[in-house]
Symmetry: C2
Subunit: 210 residues, 2 copies
DNA sequence: TGTGAGCTAAGGGTTTTCCCTTATGTGAGG
DNA sequence: CCTCACATAAGGGAAAACCCTTAGCTCACA
């Protein structure tokens, strides 16, 4: 029996996954929650074999929960569930200790395969992510550098529609500084303007539309 | 027994909903598909009591499927499943004959309640949508006018990051014309700039991030 | 102790967006 | 037939975004 835990704030989806996995022989969903901190409590007395962790959360809580979980239980096998093929975070996530990436639009077979692979000590990365990564190495530096924390701040406000001047006021810095950050972000994301940037930010989990 | 059909291109989610509903007494999922045209074929020989229809599709196929379904079977009770509380389409959707709106982030109880209500001849609209609509009537004209088809064209290209000039070239019209459309869209959406516009477009199913 | 990354900031330029106005043509519907 | 909505287009100006450069400061790290 493979003991599985699911963390996803999306009630219907989580419940659905639970039932889908429950149908599969040898799979046993021992825990599911919408709240990362409840999972950390759970970890104090039980260790699941495989964890499905939604990354796509308000206030970047998926990544945080992953890191804290692996501090507590470094042997934990975590598969990241993401809405989009997020390639900018993949090194961080792998460094954080994630064993797999699977897209929310995948199907039952793929999910089953991923869980089986990861449980038996392997990795699983969905085809879309692998293809994107391959394409990125061809285009060398395109969208590879990760953002600094200040850049993430600025990106967040850009995505909510604030102007450079407004962001400057909000952060108590010069508009020229915000401009520099914006430009650096544009280069790192390898996009031409705010429109492309916002789409990129959503796809790469820097910003989520609620 | 309430016979239910589910149309959603998101395999795991659809399968999950199917199992969730299958658990409920009196509910019977008689059909589920990722493809709207397959549902139209199905409708030729069977009429479900309630249809759960995902609206959030590539190439606006959810709305189209809804309209065609109701042409074939006007008595059909369709509940729209949406990712966001999309208020700009609500009149069109109600005119099209939809009996309810429910958010994908809702839970099992709410879904069950919605299906029961709609099946017995009622309506169901999730709280979030009702609140947004109430707020909109206070702010009178804010974000109420619907877009023309040309405006939707332009909006699509704005969301993919093309500049006014590039859109003009693509559509073989003057940049000045594109500018007029952009401004009209900004006013109808009641937003200040492209950044806000893109978020608005995603939330209101004018553009979806794939 | 220097080297580098990151935040800060300014100068100075081009391009694009945003925001008015006015105006013509066309097709649908009363 | 006449209005009305829509698409088209232009002028003209203000604001914002975009794109370089240079440069000082701090903090961590080797």
């Amino acid at each position: 029996m493979i003991k599985i835990a699911i963390i996803d704030d999306h009630d219907l989806f989580r419940e659905g996954i639970r039932l889908v996995l429950g149908q599969i022989e040898d799979f046993d969903v021992v825990f599911d929650t919408s709240d990362g901190s409840l999972f950390l409590e759970f970890l104090q007395h039980t260790i699941p074999d495989v964890v499905l962790m939604d990354i796509n959360m308000p206030i970047i809580d998926g990544v945080e929960t992953t890191e804290k979980s692996l501090e507590m239980r470094p042997e934990l096998k975590i598969i990241a569930l993401t809405m989009f093929a997020d390639t900018t975070h993949y090194t961080q996530m792998i460094n954080a200790g994630v064993k797999g990436f699977i897209l929310k639009k995948s199907n039952k077979n793929e999910l089953q395969h991923a869980i089986t692979m990861v449980n038996s000590g392997g990795n699983y990365f969905s085809q879309e992510i692998i293809q994107k990564l391959a394409f990125q190495t061809i285009n060398s530096n395109a969208g590879n550098d990760s953002l600094t924390s200040r850049e993430m701040d600025i990106l967040h406000w850009v995505c909510t529609g604030l102007t450079t001047h407004e962001i400057a006021d909000k952060l108590f810095i010069s508009a020229k500084t915000v401009e520099v950050h914006r430009n650096n972000i544009l280069h790192k994301a390898d996009v031409r303007n705010s429109a492309e940037l916002i789409i990129w930010a959503v796809k790469n989990n820097y910003f989520s539309i609620e």
